[in-house]
């Protein structure tokens, strides 16, 4: 589905004619589209793709590996092409751009016609045609403001698109982790149930005190409860993903991989992002670019208002009347309106521009700090993932092997062995949860840095 950015909005012939008329001597207003493309060229590749989704270019979603399972890339592609969330983003963007275009339209014509019929005479006809000069004179400024407003809108839209992508990826990772966790806890519950059943056999043989038997039954109940909760959590996560993708949770394409892959490695230099990384983030973060564009738009607007607020609004035109006695009168007309509020309005607009600029500056500081914070958070999450994924789980696996050997040599009983097996699955479930944390931290760090996910 294509959504040409501006062509349709400029389609009406009258608008085109008036634009050409008003543009005589007002350079620049017809070059919006090339400038927009220039703005897009400043975006990172992923954002360019996202932005181009609004502009009619063919989307090029990242391709995932050919697999039966739903990859994160495939999920993102599904979301961009079929999700209602994407549609709502598009609609909101188009609405915003339409409003900008309307505000930046050339001045119109004022036409009036009246037929006055006194009770005892002939009718009087009055016809007036006037042009609001101010609107024509401010057209270049309003076009420049619209240019920056559209840039800001496009950047916000692209940022929102990337956020949608991030949400999809996060939902995908959450669903995979939850599914894995549910499977592991289900197996842990199965092990606990086997242990409880074995306890019953020992009790029936007269070899297990009631207290020990009770402990086994309680252990099984606790494990079953945890498994049930994990199962519900997995279903909820899957539903959340389906909602984002705009498909039923029963969609056959929602076959998730068994486990999350290892999170990407981190260079040691990433611990403390250097000036280049921060500069890159400051030049690539779409929300920051949007804030800056918005500030530019406000500045243009403020400059325009500071000039024109001192000048009365003037409309020039032609009036033609036919009096009741048949006399026809024709002549130019000027209509001027001056308001003492114009100066205050200009100061207000200037303050808004200052506010927008301050907001952009604030955001720039926050972006730099966020990059540092997210890098640190990812480092910690990655370390813990490594600890759980490679170290503790290996140790736990070794402890199961050791318990198996001890049981084989009658050095330990089967309950100890089964408990270690259960604990191992629970630890793996926790490790998967930590891996999810690492992936979420990765997404946050990458997006904070303005890097494509």
């Amino acid at each position: 589905m294509k959504f040409p950015l501006y062509a349709k909005r400029r389609t009406p012939v009258a608008w085109l004619a008036l634009t050409l008329l008003g543009s005589l001597g007002l350079a620049g207003c017809a070059s919006v589209a090339p400038r927009e493309l220039a703005v897009r060229a400043q975006l990172p590749a992923q954002a360019v793709w996202a932005a181009s989704a609004w502009g009619g270019a063919t989307p090029t979603a990242p391709e995932g590996p050919a697999d039966d399972t739903l990859t994160a890339d495939t999920a993102v592609r599904m979301a961009f092409t079929s999700s209602p969330h994407a549609r709502s983003l598009r609609a909101a963007f188009l609405a915003e751009v339409s409003a900008i275009d309307a505000a930046a339209a050339p001045g119109g014509l004022h036409f009036s016609w009246a037929r006055l019929r006194p009770a005892d005479g002939l009718a009087k006809l009055a016809l007036a045609l006037s042009v609001p000069l101010e609107e024509w004179l401010t057209l270049p400024g309003r076009q420049r403001q619209a240019y920056w407003s559209r840039a800001a809108a496009a950047q916000r839209a692209a940022f929102a698109t990337l956020q949608l992508e991030r949400h999809v990826r996060e939902a995908w990772a959450t669903a995979v982790a939850a599914q894995r966790r549910a499977a592991l806890l289900a197996r842990a519950a199965e092990t606990a149930e086997l242990s409880a059943e074995l306890a019953t056999r020992y009790r029936d043989a007269g070899n297990l005190p009631p207290h020990d038997w009770n402990e086994q039954q309680q252990g099984a109940a606790v494990a079953l409860t945890a498994a049930a909760e994990a199962g519900v959590a997995a279903a909820e996560s899957r539903t959340a993903l389906a909602n984002l993708l705009g498909v039923p949770s029963t969609d056959p394409r929602l076959v998730l991989p068994q486990a999350l892959p290892s999170p990407p490695a981190m260079e040691s230099a990433d611990n403390a992002p250097d000036a280049a990384a921060l500069t890159a983030a400051l030049s690539h973060r779409l929300d920051l670019l949007a804030a800056r564009s918005e500030a530019m738009a406000q500045q243009v607007h403020a400059r325009s208002r500071s000039v024109w607020s001192r000048v009365p609004a003037v409309a020039a035109g032609v009036e033609r009347e036919r009096e009741t006695d048949g006399t026809r009168l024709t002549g130019p007309s000027i209509d001027a309106t001056w308001s003492p509020a114009g100066s205050a309005e200009a100061r207000g607009v200037a303050a808004q521009a200052e506010l927008a600029d301050a907001n952009a500056a604030t955001l720039a500081v926050e972006v730099a700090n966020e990059v540092r914070l997210r890098a640190l958070a990812y480092r910690r999450a990655l370390d813990l993932d490594g600890l759980l994924g490679t170290h503790l789980t290996q140790l736990q696996a070794a402890s199961v092997t050791a318990a198996q050997q001890q049981q084989a040599f009658m050095l330990a009983g089967p309950f100890d062995l089964l408990e270690k097996r259960r604990v191992m699955d629970e630890l793996f479930a926790n490790a998967e949860q930590q891996r999810l944390v690492a992936w979420l931290a990765w997404y946050a760090w990458q997006q904070a840095s303005g890097v494509a996910l």
Binding site: R187, E190, T191, L194, E197, L198, R201, Y202, D204, A205, G206, N207, L208, D212, V400, A402, Q404, Q405, Q406, Q407, A408, F409, M410, L411, A412, G413, P414, F415, L417, L418, R421
Partner: protein, 439 residues
């Protein structure tokens, strides 16, 4: 007491055999201690006393030299590698502390009335001392670190010198950080032969009883364990690696037993009545002897058991505490006897591949599985039951060995093999019907 010519010849022959055996054992065990190799200018102590040489099962007696009116020994305390069952499939090799490369350290033999001079070189990482358990000596030679002497620092050599005023079966062990040093294997026998006038024996075996806590998968004894030990040893060796006691029929046999473990041990001999003839107080008066088949050897005690081996056969000799004739086993596991779980085991194997349900019909199947390699046990851990006899598995371990009595023994002192039972002298099957009844 006057010795007859026959006794003198027997004693001399046995003593000669003892010299050969001692030299052979020294040659077989390469020693880093030069003093062990110096020639003994005098006859070995047993020969001098007219006694049979002491056979320390799986061990040896320490050669000595005569210098400046004293029998001189040199002991070196050091960390060593020790295997509880050399030559067996199951291995438990530990880092122990011992003397002159072994645990127990070599047996010291001397004669009552002699002066002994014993050098002790400390190659341990901490100080040590030696207490001569049961010997009557000057207080300053008693070896109690801090009480009768300063501790001997690492790297130093100190000398103990005293006259042997009493005879009997004694042992030596550290009295510095005693708990740890004994638990890690520092001990040895000290046999003082009587000066004369005592009944001689033809075979004189000696052993130290000990217990160890070597947790499965570890390589050092744990000295903090109080009672729940998992290895029970004669001379730091477990069955079936413990040497059998080889005896010719009709010989008079003495078994000297010292107990340095933390448990009392009821030592039981099959096939014979024996007399307890002495302890760490020396030889008991004959009128106090009485026949036994089991003698309790308490912690810190020695006992001498004597009997005449007048019946051929392979006769078990073991501690009668059943857990002491096992190797490492769990003492706090749920009892699997009678637990029907074969069907459940199938399901358990789905989450635990290789799970094996054992013990429903008894524990004997354990050795079958371990011998056949069905089950891998913990690292550096011997199975609970070991040993193969002429009629199947012995299902034993720990404090168990065999007294082999034969009309003739191989001249080279080697094991004569399993006893061949004369026809009509062995138990036989009469029915395979479980409901068999006598008619």
């Amino acid at each position: 007491m006057k010795l007859s010519r026959r006794q003198l010849l027997q004693g001399g022959g046995a003593a000669l055999a003892g010299v050969v055996a001692t030299q052979a054992s020294v040659a077989a065990a390469p020693s880093p201690h030069p003093l062990e190799n110096f020639p003994d200018p005098l006859a070995p102590a047993a020969r001098k006393a007219g006694q049979a040489p002491v056979t320390t099962l799986n061990g040896r007696s320490l050669p000595a030299r005569w210098r400046d009116g004293a029998r001189e020994f040199h002991l070196v305390a050091e960390e060593i590698e020790h295997d509880f069952a050399p030559g067996q499939a199951g291995i438990t090799r530990i880092k122990a502390w011992g003397y002159n490369g072994t645990t127990p350290g070599p047996t010291l033999e001397a004669v009552e009335g002699e002066r002994v001079r014993i050098y002790l070189t400390n190659r341990l990482p901490e100080h040590t001392s030696i207490h001569w358990h049961g010997l009557l000596l000057p207080a300053g030679m008693d070896g109690v670190s801090g009480l009768t002497q300063p501790p001997i620092p690492p790297g130093e050599t100190w000398v103990y010198e005293f006259e042997l005023r009493n005879h009997g079966t004694f042992f030596y062990h550290p009295h510095a950080d005693e708990l740890l040093q004994v638990a890690t294997g520092m001990m040895g026998l000290f046999i003082v032969h009587p000066r004369g006038g005592e009944d001689r024996v033809d075979r004189d075996f000696a052993m130290l009883l000990h217990n160890w806590s070597v947790h499965p998968g570890t390589y050092r004894p744990d000295p903090s364990v109080m009672t729940d030990f998992n290895l029970w040893t004669f001379n730091s060796t477990v069955f079936p690696a413990i040497e059998p006691m080889l005896v010719k029929r009709g010989e008079r046999v003495r078994i000297r037993i010292g107990n340095l473990s933390m448990h009392d041990h009821p030592m039981h001999l099959h096939g014979f009545r024996f007399y307890v003839t002495g302890g760490d107080g020396g030889r008991w008066p004959r009128h106090t002897w009485h026949p036994e088949v089991t003698a309790l050897v308490a912690v810190g005690q020695t006992r001498d058991l004597e009997f005449v081996a007048d019946v051929n056969g392979d006769w078990a000799f073991h501690c009668h505490k059943a857990h002491h004739t096992m190797n490492a086993m769990g003492h706090d596991i749920p009892n699997p006897l009678g637990v029907k779980q074969q069907d459940l085991a199938e399901r358990i194997r789905e989450v635990l591949p290789g799970y094996m349900a054992m013990g429903e019909h008894g524990m004997a199947e354990h050795q079958v599985h371990t011998d056949m390699g069905h089950m891998e046990g913990p690292e550096n851990t011997m199975p609970m039951m070991m040993g193969e006899g002429p009629f199947g598995k012995l299902e034993m371990g720990g404090m168990f060995t065999v007294v082999k009595v034969r009309d003739d023994l191989p001249k080279d002192g080697s094991d004569p093999g399993w006893y061949q039972h004369p026809k009509g002298t062995q138990v036989r099957r009469v029915s395979q019907d479980p409901s068999f009844r006598l008619k």
